[in-house]
């Protein structure tokens, strides 16, 4: 352990500790706790039973009171470690509790009932993961449905985003035509028009197209993202025009130039846009909340928020489903984090 600490804290130069070194490590360790801590707490909590979730002070790990079946009793009885009057500790099962006194039996000797003051006993607890928090929402609620809706929306929106935006970016980067500057200006100008500003009229546009309560109403308004066009166009500008001229000499059609030359060469930019699009669409909340009012069409985000907004929140299910919702993004984070961070540092978009 000391070796690890020395390895981590070893500094180039090695001319002793400066106050900035201390600030640095306090900031880093503090950051680790503050940034990851809440998610870790969520994951541990999601495995607790409703009874354990209602306890204060809560424990980190999901504990449950051990239960034993005792001859002569229909239900399993909770097991307690009891400090006996003679100072010894014994494991007894509780039959019932009356005020401050618990009536308990020795599981090995079920005939005899012992009366114990409740301050002298502690429940015997074992770590146990309540897997049913995860399985039941899928069976009893529509979470499988929501999961499918989210996957469908994310996949379709990302595919269409890639095709439609790469075509537009191709036109804007490799052709000269009238109105080109106007179109670029519109695209730049709307880069920052948020959905919040147009949601009222967008709702009626969606309804006019008969798309209300249809997953396509969530997909279509998001796919022509100016950010995507802008990102791809900037990248395609770096593809040399000579390649395209050569292809034209060889009688390639414009469509062939697009999908056989420009698209493969723009793959890195397409990959960045694909990753961003997946994260955006998976996380979308406000518009799906407005456009989808039928339960079976909810995406995971909407379903989660609606269930967590109910009067009697079933936290054990909500927490488990929150973890499920988090998984794809965590996977993206683990495997593609490098692309995203360099993408942001390079283009400044999110």
């Amino acid at each position: 352990m000391a070796g690890i600490v020395r390895f981590i804290t070893r500094r180039r130069g090695d001319n002793g500790w400066h106050w900035t070194d201390i600030v640095t490590w306090v900031w880093l360790i503090g950051g680790l706790l503050v940034m990851f801590g809440p998610a870790v707490w969520l994951v541990f909590s999601s495995f607790k039973t409703p009874a354990a979730l209602a306890e204060f002070p809560p424990s980190l790990l999901p504990y449950v009171t051990q239960e034993v079946t005792v001859k002569g009793y229909d239900h399993p009885l909770p097991l307690y470690a009891v400090t006996m009057p003679d100072g010894k500790t014994e494991k007894l099962a509780e039959v019932r509790r009356i005020g401050l006194v618990a009536q308990m039996v020795d599981p090995a000797n079920p005939g005899e009932i012992v009366k114990i003051n409740i301050s002298n006993r502690r429940p015997v607890e074992t770590v146990s993961f309540a897997i049913s928090n995860y399985t039941e929402p899928f069976i009893h609620f529509d979470f499988l449905r929501y999961l499918w809706n989210s996957v469908f929306v994310t996949t379709m929106a990302t595919l269409i985003t890639l095709v439609v935006n790469s075509m537009a970016a191709f036109a804007l980067s490799k052709y000269r035509f009238r109105g080109q500057h106007l179109i670029m200006l519109i695209i730049l100008g709307t880069l920052m028009v948020p959905l919040g500003v147009i949601m009222v009229p967008l709702y009626s546009v969606i309804s006019a197209f008969g798309l209300f309560n249809n997953l396509w109403s969530v997909i279509l308004p998001t796919v022509a993202t100016p950010t995507g066009v802008f990102l791809l166009r900037q990248y395609m500008l770096t593809i040399p025009d000579e390649l395209i001229d050569a292809a034209r000499m060889d009688k390639a059609s414009e469509w062939q130039i697009y999908w056989r030359i420009v698209l493969p060469l723009a793959a890195p930019a397409l990959a960045v846009l694909a990753i961003f699009s997946v994260v955006w669409r998976w996380n979308d909340f406000l518009w799906p909340l407005i456009a989808l009012s039928r339960k079976e069409l909810y995406t995971l985000q909407v379903g989660l928020s609606v269930y967590s907004g109910q009067l009697n929140v079933q936290w054990h299910y909500i927490l488990a489903m929150t973890v499920v919702t988090m998984i794809p993004v965590v996977l993206v984070f683990v495997f593609l984090q490098r692309f995203i961070t360099t993408g942001i540092a390079g283009t400044g978009l999110k």
């Binding site: 981590i8 204060f56 809560p58 075509m167 000269r176 919040g196 009626s204 546009v205 999110k350």
Partner: protein, 341 residues
């Protein structure tokens, strides 16, 4: 082994791409005919068409008819069944006896939302700049495992706002982690933070800083890494004190990036909604009611629906955003002119 695995992936790619290739080749036949008719330049219009069509229908048209909406009254959704009221919605919004006191306004909730949003923007942006700058400076030092630490601060950025809101709602509730820590360290009794007006607002600010600060730290880190190392070496040779180096070299050279962060976070803070809505639902009372939630509720959710009012409110918010966006374009134009430092 390498060659083998390469042929395997090629085979997989081929199998996946074969149908795509077939479709693309099939599309090519009618498109060649189109090209013959429209000419090479005409194909540009074809490539633009899908994007422009979707963009026009779902962004431009709503953007334009939003103005029409804001001039109508009543609860009907469709424009043709709404009554024209002219500038009445705006007049009602601006009918206040005292503009500093929301309760003196006819549309008091609107002004409460404006006030909340203004406070939120000021505090959150200030916090984001300070925390992101500190994080970037720390990450830019000579530390081991920098990419790991960078990832640590970036992690919440990718989480969905709903997940973020729920995580923190769970931490701030009565049996939550915050109460546990305060109980263990100081013996505090558990408290329901989200039922307290001030605590709730502070939570809204804190959680949104938590969720977004990693993004801005990354931008600043990129800026720090672009500062030439020889400047620092020269300063060191002259025996300049580190604090002086920071004020005289680091901060001035980082200024363009700081400006980007400032404007970006401003634009985003004005639009705060998702995570706060899940965290507090705008409550308790109206203590965390922000602009977007006000528009959402007036437009869709509340019993007394008023789409005209929602549209008018969204246009006023849009005007603020346009100003901020122009500011952003000016900033990026200036940065471009200066070129890479």
């Amino acid at each position: 082994v390498n060659a083998k695995s390469r042929t395997w992936t090629l085979g997989l790619d081929g199998a996946l791409l074969a149908p795509v290739r077939l479709v693309m080749a099939a599309i090519d036949v009618p498109l060649r005919a189109l090209q013959k008719a429209a000419g090479q330049g005409g194909m540009a219009a074809f490539f633009l068409l899908p994007n422009m069509a979707i963009f026009t229908i779902f962004v431009l048209v709503p953007f334009v008819i939003n103005f029409a909406y804001s001039m109508t009254g009543g609860t009907a959704i469709f424009l043709d069944s709404r009554t024209f009221v002219g500038a009445e919605q705006y007049r009602e919004i601006f009918s206040c006896t005292n503009f500093l006191d929301p309760s003196s306004c006819l549309r008091d909730e609107f002004w409460i939302a404006v006030g909340n949003t203004a406070w939120f923007v000021v505090i959150q942006v200030a916090l984001i700049v300070v925390v992101a700058l500190t994080t970037a400076l720390v990450l830019n030092r000579d530390i081991r495992g920098r990419s790991f630490w960078r990832a640590v601060f970036f992690f919440p950025v990718l989480l969905s706002p709903v997940v973020t809101g729920l995580i923190w709602r769970w931490i701030l509730q009565r049996q939550g982690l915050l109460n546990l820590i305060l109980f263990r360290l100081f013996g505090f009794e558990p408290y329901t933070w989200l039922t307290d007006r001030h605590a709730s607002f502070a939570a809204a600010v804190g959680v949104s800083v938590w969720a977004h600060v990693g993004f801005y730290a990354l931008i600043l880190l990129a800026g720090l890494q672009a500062i030439p190392k020889d400047l620092y070496e020269a300063a060191e040779m002259d025996g300049t004190r580190p604090t002086r180096t920071f004020w005289r070299i680091t901060l001035p050279l980082l200024a363009p990036n700081l400006l980007v962060v400032l404007v970006f976070s401003l634009i985003r803070a004005v639009q705060v909604f998702d995570e706060v809505y899940v965290l507090t639902g705008g409550g308790p009372g109206t203590s965390t009611l922000f602009m977007i939630q006000y528009i959402y509720e007036k437009g869709f959710a509340s019993q007394l629906r008023d789409p005209g009012l929602a549209a008018a409110a969204s246009i006023l918010m849009g005007a603020v955003l346009v100003v901020l966006t122009l500011l952003q374009l000016a900033v990026s134009r200036r940065n471009e002119k200066k070129g890479e430092v």
